[in-house]
Symmetry: C2
Subunit: 414 residues, 2 copies
């Protein structure tokens, strides 16, 4: 089992032996570092075991950035991002890892797959896309060539309130389809916004904001965090256009502070989760994506499924959501749910809620994962989006690259 940062949240690095007698974990930590930066092509070649902070530190010395900041950034590795098809918090600006991987090297039990760095090709199916999402089941990603960009000269933070989640989603759709998106755009629904405001405490500024928003008719405000990066002209241009669109959907500007606050805390979620678990609160996140035309339906269905599953233990569970990865054709939905649960019933409650959500996702046109991957937890739902034939194709691939089935057993394939 290839092991990078060990940050999978879907059981992607659980030590399952499969039909074997034991599990060998391959620690990739020493496949670390930036091996080369091609300044003309904006391509960096890096060891797959490089963690987020090490990568960005080394790239910074070359004046470039990958711009890839998943919540697991502090620990997760480039190889893990590729293997699990990661998407960073600035994906609207910098793209998914899928979009920036131009070449890679996979060492499989059956041999080595060397895919050179190319800007584009039509030479048959793109095998890079088989490595992306292979989750350690085909071989070990050892090296990746990634598109990088110059460090941004300008960065602008701007938070907004939208009058409802529905209005906010429509505004984001307009920005995505006009292709003027901020590099980070993250819209919380009513419940997530209410909880953020509550967590901000009794600060007098927060009370003022609440009052101001009520006056503006935002009785259940939805917070939108935007961050723009680039050269000064580009940032100013996109900001001006976005402001016009957001105002058109009833948006009220809240200044930079909430956006800076979000950025400071953006890797803290998992720590908070552990603290809550220690205090008898079950907390979990899950995510999906769908077309814009289906977003409201999917949101309602998953939220409803989670609430139903959790009302077994509490009349008023917290189920909150944000949209944070935007495409011209659709967007992701990221749910967080909380419910009080004694330690002994927690796993059963988690399993029930997770199952209810996954079933709602596949029954309502969502993907089983937008950026967490499949791992152990999503295997049984893969067939609904890949077809039985697609799974057979993936199994055939695995037999060819890993004939003895020794690579990360029990993951990805049902």
């Amino acid at each position: 089992m290839p092991f990078g940062g060990g940050t999978s949240v879907v059981g992607g690095v659980e030590p399952l032996p499969g039909q074997h007698g034991a599990v060998v974990t391959l620690d990739l930590r020493r496949l670390s570092g930036v091996l080369a930066v091609d300044p003309a092509a904006h391509v960096a070649t890096v060891g797959a075991g490089t963690t987020g902070p090490d990568l960005e530190r080394a790239l910074r010395a070359h004046g470039v950035t990958l711009g890839h900041f998943p919540q697991s950034f502090e620990f997760s590795t480039v190889g893990g991002w590729v293997a699990a098809r990661s998407s960073g918090q600035a994906s609207s600006g910098y793209g998914r890892i899928d979009d920036v991987l131009v070449g890679t090297d996979l060492v499989a039990p059956a041999g080595r797959l060397v895919l050179p760095a190319l800007p584009a090709t039509a030479a048959g199916p793109d095998l890079r896309r088989l490595v992306l999402g292979s989750e350690g089941t085909l071989g070990v990603v050892t090296e990746c060539s990634l598109r990088v960009r110059p460090l941004p000269a300008a960065r602008h933070y701007e938070a907004w309130s939208l009058p409802s989640f529905a209005d906010g989603c429509e505004a984001l759709r307009a920005l995505a389809q006009e292709r003027i998106l901020p590099d980070v755009a993250r819209l919380s629904d009513e419940e997530e916004t209410a909880i953020s405001l509550a967590l901000a405490g009794d600060h007098p500024g927060v009370a003022l904001v609440r009052r101001y928003l009520r006056l503006r008719g935002h009785h259940q405000p939805c917070l939108l965090v935007t961050i723009y990066e680039g050269d000064g002209h580009d940032v100013a241009w996109r900001r001006a256009r976005c402001r016009r669109v957001l105002r058109g959907y009833g948006g009220v500007a809240l200044g930079s502070r909430p956006a800076r606050q979000w950025e400071r805390e953006r890797f803290r979620g998992p720590y908070l989760r552990d603290a809550l678990l220690d205090h008898g609160v079950l907390v979990e996140t899950l995510e999906t994506a769908t077309l814009w035309s289906n977003l409201a339906r999917l949101y309602g269905a998953v939220r409803g499924a989670l609430r139903s599953a959790l009302t077994r233990v509490t009349p008023d569970p917290v189920v909150m959501c944000h949209v944070s990865h935007l495409y011209e054709t659709g967007a992701s939905l990221y749910f967080t749910f909380l419910a009080p649960a004694e330690a002994e019933e927690r796993i059963a409650l988690w399993a029930a809620a997770k199952r209810a959500a996954c079933e709602a996702i596949v029954a309502n046109g969502g993907t089983i994962s937008h950026h967490h991957g499949v791992g152990r937890d999503h295997r049984e739902w893969l067939e609904t989006e890949d077809s039985a034939l697609g799974l057979a194709a993936l199994r055939a691939l695995k037999r060819e690259l890993d004939p003895d089935g020794i690579m990360n057993p029990g993951k990805l394939l049902p």
Copy 2:
């Protein structure tokens, strides 16, 4: 053998029987038409047999466009574009077909692969990318869901002269990496520009342009055609930024006429080719792509290889080139070569020149095809970019989806 428009230029639809006794051609013409347009998600679902003109006509009625205009546009089909990983002349603005295919349906001998329309997913390897580039060897693409965009409100044509091909490439690199590219950007090298000017004839305007460019120090000018599409603000903004960059690289604006002229004639190349063949001139095109840092080397190597191969029959063959598909990390090179050749020696000369070019491409870090595909003609070079293991993986896939090897034998896989 699935047959769409039959426009492959790499032997992709040659009727080769493989180990079978005959070839059955599957005419996909009647899988035609736009089946649905999702106006909120900007997604159109279309039959794979739909030709370019039929597609754009039907989409226009919905106020949208795919923006995909390969040179074969008049005859080629959506299914062919997907199967051969096509890239249109406006790829800098609208993306490759790879970028816009959000869902598809492949009917294989072993069953049906239904891949639903999704904006993005991390649910294992993206099987859409196996259909893209499968070239009819895995099954028949029957239906495609594609990202579309509103018909552009504004369109602006602008031609430029650059002082050299090298300067022009650097200018295009700057535009691509600043992400302000025109939707069409096509730079001809010195030789292609000279021939375009010669073909423009003795028109007094042409003589004036020549004189003007000489005065500006462009003794061997390189023509750059740009077309901007979008809303008026966006077009004006990109134009202003591009002008500044192009001037910085010594660019001289030539007005809109040469760009409009190019657009009028952009599907005529193949007809001209036939006429030249009738007049005893061998003419062929081939293309590749590489990283920006390697573009000059690859250009020199392929051009040199073609010239050497052709000097067997003429001391002064025509080998010309343009760059027309731009990425942050690199670009394509599209070569056209001409040489006088009697009918009986033409095939041998073609084979020698083609082989010399392909060998130069793979020896110098290019892809064997940026948008023509593999077909029959590029099979033997596929291993250099996919590795032996990659070919084994593709063969395993084919065995699974097409166990009797009946789908388009003799193509793609060596």
